[in-house]
């Protein structure tokens, strides 16, 4: 507490700071020593394991499976191109705004929407590309596709639900409130279970759609309810004077929503919406238990191979790194967006 970051010169200052930060009292010293021993021991046995015991063959020999699942080997370039495009889009969006020409900057939101149909085209085939059935999609590629699809569906749904929950029509309000609260009360795996096994029961005979789409629909409906609450929080934070100003300018109700309320609400809600995107990525791993071979699903089948008996830790560390990296990319994207919005919002 209260450590002043004065940049004192000399080693004496440093010693003082170390003493204050680590050995301020006898109890503090005990805590520091115990923690240091535990950390040191943990790190030591971890490195010992990494160097002497771990066998990374289970990761190295299966990189293609982790990235593309069982995508046909001769077509794997298509999966690579989609991952490459997505990565490039991430990097471009993360670049400082002043380094990008204005037209590119304006096209970015459109590109983020278009990347989904482009991905579907590349993976599913058509337009001269050989068709690949969705059950051959998998690995990181499928996880990212599911996440992107979910977010692109859940965000507009969430906005509509949030607006409807605040509408002046009681019926609409009740219906959306009921939907949002019911959905938020249910465990996600139950919703996905419903989506994978029960949606066909509600459709006319002969109507089927593939399980990737069913998964995106159920995830989208689920995440949409959570995003609705985030957007509603943003809407509630708008000062009343803004609405009065819009009215006195003669803006119609629809224009007020589109030009005054939503931009401000979305900016406020951005951090929590970003958390929902991260949660969506993490949620796709549940689909491994409902027959999709996304990143976790393919890992489970690799671990089922007797050649890699008991190599769980290697695989889980590798998975944790992959998920962690994508999560970090998504959060930094959100932070970048937040800064961008603040810049444009203040002039």
């Amino acid at each position: 507490m209260g450590e002043s970051p004065r940049s004192g010169s000399g080693s004496r200052q440093l010693l003082l700071r170390i003493r204050r930060g680590l050995f301020a009292s006898p109890l503090d010293t005990v805590i520091t020593v115990v923690l240091a021993v535990l950390c040191g021991g943990g790190l030591w046995s971890f490195f010992h394991w990494v160097v002497l015991q771990a066998d990374w063959a289970v990761v190295v020999e299966n990189v293609r499976l982790y990235l593309h699942g069982r995508f046909p080997v001769e077509q794997v370039g298509r999966s690579w191109s989609w991952l490459g495009l997505l990565g490039a889009l991430f990097l471009v969006t993360l670049m400082p705004a002043r380094m990008l020409p204005r037209p590119v900057l304006r096209l970015l939101p459109l590109l983020w929407i278009l990347i989904l149909p482009i991905g579907l085209l590349l993976l599913a085939g058509g337009l001269g590309l050989e068709p690949v059935k969705s059950r051959f999609w998998g690995g990181l590629q499928l996880s990212l596709l599911l996440t992107l699809g979910t977010v692109l569906m859940a965000l507009p749904l969430g906005i509509l639900l949030a607006l409807a929950r605040r509408s002046s029509l009681p019926l609409l309000r009740w219906l959306t409130t009921g939907y949002i609260e019911l959905t938020r009360g249910m465990p996600l795996i139950a919703v996905l279970f419903f989506g994978q096994l029960m949606i066909p029961l509600f459709l006319p005979e002969g109507w089927t759609f593939n399980r990737v789409l069913r998964a995106v629909l159920s995830l989208g409906f689920f995440v949409g309810a959570y995003m609705a609450e985030d957007v509603r929080g943003g809407l509630q934070a708008i000062p009343r004077t803004q609405l009065e100003a819009a009215r006195s300018l003669g803006l119609s109700p629809l224009l007020t929503i589109a030009l005054v309320e939503l931009p401000q609400a979305l900016r406020t809600a951005l951090p929590s919406l970003a958390n929902q995107c991260v949660a969506s990525l993490q949620s796709t791993s549940l689909l491994a238990y409902l027959g999709l071979i996304e990143l976790l699903g393919i890992s489970r089948s690799i671990l089922g191979n007797p050649d890699y008996l008991g190599r769980h830790l290697e695989v889980y560390i590798w998975l944790a790194l992959l998920y962690w990296a994508v999560c970090i990319l998504m959060t930094s994207l959100a932070r970048r967006l937040e800064r961008g919005l603040n810049v444009t919002g203040h002039h």
Partner: protein
């Protein structure tokens, strides 16, 4: 919470009211129509499979085996009893998880304010790592790596279970620790936010009265932080309850896994799913209810 009227008053009153009523009638009819269509499809599909909606099968013997739990269960027992056993198994892990995750979260959150540099860094590292890894991966790690991979851990759990004569399985402990570590990271963020909301002057006042760090936190800061912490805790508790359904990944027989087995055995997806949803709504309401009572107590006495 008074909803903001979005439609502005430009139409004359009566015409506007009529329009609003008509609009709502249209929405109502649309929703009813869609629901009716879906239900008709459902009925046709179920008829085709010879599985008309009914709950009679709940009385039939379940026939699947379950590991020993808090409640007695034999394979001749009915599906209904299997559901009850599953619900109790779920509640067992949820309640234990709530307690442990709260303890871990309070320690983790408070550690952010320690004068000890190492402790602060570790608290930050814990939250950053635990939150960015899917909860499912947490469970798989504890189950496959720790409890199935290290014989000493497995034997330790079994020895303790035998010693205390409790039906505690390795699956239960793996699920419990996984949920605790994952939820604890979120709770520690909630606690950190709550402590942050207490004015800094309180720390300084306590210090000038000669209070040590631990006593300041326990007697002065945490009681005041509580009113900011409780609402956040509520949603984390509900998340923990919902995440307990990930038990299916480690083979613990919670309510969801029993619903899943029942579905595979009988094909009764709609009925089993309805029971699952009802059970979870009840659990959510229970948690929210208890937390609301606590919240009111804190607001009154805090």
């Amino acid at each position: 919470m008074s909803p903001e009227p979005l439609a502005s008053g430009r139409l004359p009153g009566r015409r506007k009211r009529l329009l609003l009523i008509l609009l709502q009638a249209a929405i109502g009819l649309l929703v009813l129509g869609v629901v009716a269509l879906l239900l008709t499809n459902l009925q046709l599909n179920l008829l085709r499979r010879g599985l008309e909606l009914s709950f009679d099968w709940l009385g039939e013997p379940a026939r699947f085996p379950l590991p020993r739990g808090l409640l007695p269960y034999r394979t001749e027992d009915s599906y209904a009893w299997a559901f009850v056993v599953g619900l109790v198994n779920s509640l067992q892990v949820v309640v234990a998880g709530l307690v442990l995750a709260t303890i871990l979260g309070v320690i983790g959150g408070a550690a952010n304010f320690s004068s000890n540099w190492l402790l602060r860094q570790l608290a930050g590292l814990y939250v950053a790592v635990a939150r960015n890894v899917p909860p499912l991966l947490h469970l798989l790690f504890w189950y496959f790596v720790v409890f199935l991979g290290v014989p000493a851990a497995r034997n330790g759990v079994n020895a303790v279970a035998e010693w205390l004569n409790l039906p505690v399985s390795v699956e239960f402990v793996a699920l419990l620790i996984g949920l605790t570590v994952y939820t604890g990271a979120y709770i520690s963020e909630v606690v950190r936010g709550g402590i942050n909301s207490v004015p800094r002057g309180q720390w300084e006042a306590a210090r000038s009265l000669g209070f040590g760090e631990g006593r300041t936190l326990r007697l002065i800061i945490l009681p005041q932080a509580l009113r900011a912490i409780l609402p956040g805790l509520n949603s984390q508790y509900i998340n923990l309850a919902k995440n307990s359904t990930l038990a299916i990944a480690v083979g613990y027989s919670d309510l969801f896994s029993i619903v899943n087995t029942t579905f595979n055995q009988t094909g009764r997806s709609i009925e089993a799913f309805a029971l699952l949803v009802l059970a979870f709504l009840a659990v959510d309401l229970l948690i929210s209810g208890v937390m609301n009572v606590l919240n009111r107590l804190v607001l009154r006495h805090g």
